[in-house]
């Protein structure tokens, strides 16, 4: 009976359709999902936008050694170094990065800078929402990548170089 065979074949096919219709959806609901990542699922090892770390005193870990810029295969890291002074202390060592720009137009998120960093100052965060209408907005400055102050230093007190130059009290590590 070819008719019965055809009906059986259609029923078999449609059974999959109806079963899948009732199953929960598996789509990654990225912009509409819950949480800070808006439903995006990234691995712990995911290399997103860089985060410049601070030490436990709230000083920047970056000592402007230029190793990250040297390791970068696409030459996207631009650093200007400056000397720390007693009144104006930014990092724990002699020098600090006065300017630290990463050009995300060129960055390929390879992680070589993170591997090269001797002070673990530069790390990869999980930020991925970095598209822009203008390519010049993709050059990130130090202020955009710097980690917030540790909680006991006042998490909201973000170091601002221009304010210090304008006369605001510079941040000094405890014991100095």
């Amino acid at each position: 009976m070819p008719v019965l065979k055809n009906i059986a074949a259609i029923a078999k096919g449609m059974s999959i359709t109806f079963r899948e219709m009732l199953a929960p959806t598996v789509v990654e609901n990225y912009p509409d999902g819950p949480g800070p990542l808006k439903g995006a699922k990234v691995q712990e090892r995911y290399r997103g936008v860089h985060v410049l770390q601070r030490d436990e005193n709230g000083l920047e870990k970056c000592v402007a050694c230029f190793l990250c810029a040297a390791a970068c295969p696409s030459n996207c890291i631009y650093i200007e170094a400056a000397e720390n002074t007693a009144e104006h202390r930014v990092s724990g060592a002699e020098r600090y990065a006065k300017v630290y720009n990463i050009d995300y137009n060129r960055c390929i998120f390879c992680g070589y800078c993170v591997e090269a960093c001797p002070t673990d100052a530069i790390t990869h965060g999980h930020g991925f929402e970095v598209a822009a209408f203008s390519a010049s907005n993709l050059v990130y400055r130090k202020e955009q990548m710097l980690a917030p102050m540790p909680a006991h230093m006042g998490a909201n007190a973000v170091f601002n170089q221009e304010e210090v130059e304008a006369g605001a009290p510079a941040m000094v590590a405890p014991g100095e």
């Binding site: 990234v42 137009n105 060129r106 390929i108 998120f109 390519a135």
Partner: protein, 186 residues
């Protein structure tokens, strides 16, 4: 600015610092209620039916295909129909490095697309050449066609591309004078 460069209304003050705003789009002068409402409706329809061109150049195209497939599913934005012909598409995603030989092809495909059309430059190579700073590649696709949204990454995750598409949707929604341009009214 101390060097005397004036950015006009694009400069705003944030935390006591002068910042250049991200450029806005469209016509700042007020228009009639009917036209703006119509604009709004047309923009809403346009932004929810961005049809990309089936056009991949390198590894970024893999992520672009992944974005179109079921796990990330840009059908949620009405953008899942990858059109094989530029004459049916609204969006060209430059997904990969642009070789010098490919540049005129991209230009022609872009010119074949009907207005309104948008361009996403996907990944470091399309945006700036990335690591390939050499004679074979066009350093940034915006030397060939005008780019609307730049997506960094090597390659960008599908979520990053989805983020770029939501940015593009925002841009389309904010466009002014859509109806006048479509009807060719001055």
């Amino acid at each position: 600015m101390s060097n005397g460069v004036s950015f006009g209304s694009y400069v705003t003050t944030e935390n006591g610092k002068r910042v250049v705003k991200e450029l806005t789009f469209g016509n700042p002068t007020p228009e009639g209620v009917v036209l703006t409402t119509l604009d709004h409706a047309v923009n809403w329809m346009r932004k929810n039916s961005i049809w990309p061109l089936t056009f991949g150049l390198a590894c970024c195209a893999i992520e672009m295909m992944s974005m179109g497939a079921s796990r990330f599913d840009i059908a949620r934005f009405g953008a899942e129909v990858f059109r094989p012909s530029p004459r049916q598409s609204d969006l060209i995603i430059i997904a990969g490095r642009v070789a010098n030989k490919m540049a005129p092809v991209i230009r022609q495909l872009w010119e074949q697309m009907p207005e309104p059309k948008w361009v996403i430059s996907m990944g470091a190579c399309a945006t700036s050449g990335g690591v390939f700073n050499n004679y074979a590649l066009v350093q940034s696709v915006n030397q060939v066609i005008p780019v609307d949204v730049y997506v960094p990454g090597c390659p960008p995750r599908p979520e990053q591309l989805i983020y770029a598409i939501t940015l593009l949707q925002e841009k389309i929604q904010k466009e002014r004078g859509t109806v006048r341009r479509a009807l060719n009214i001055k």
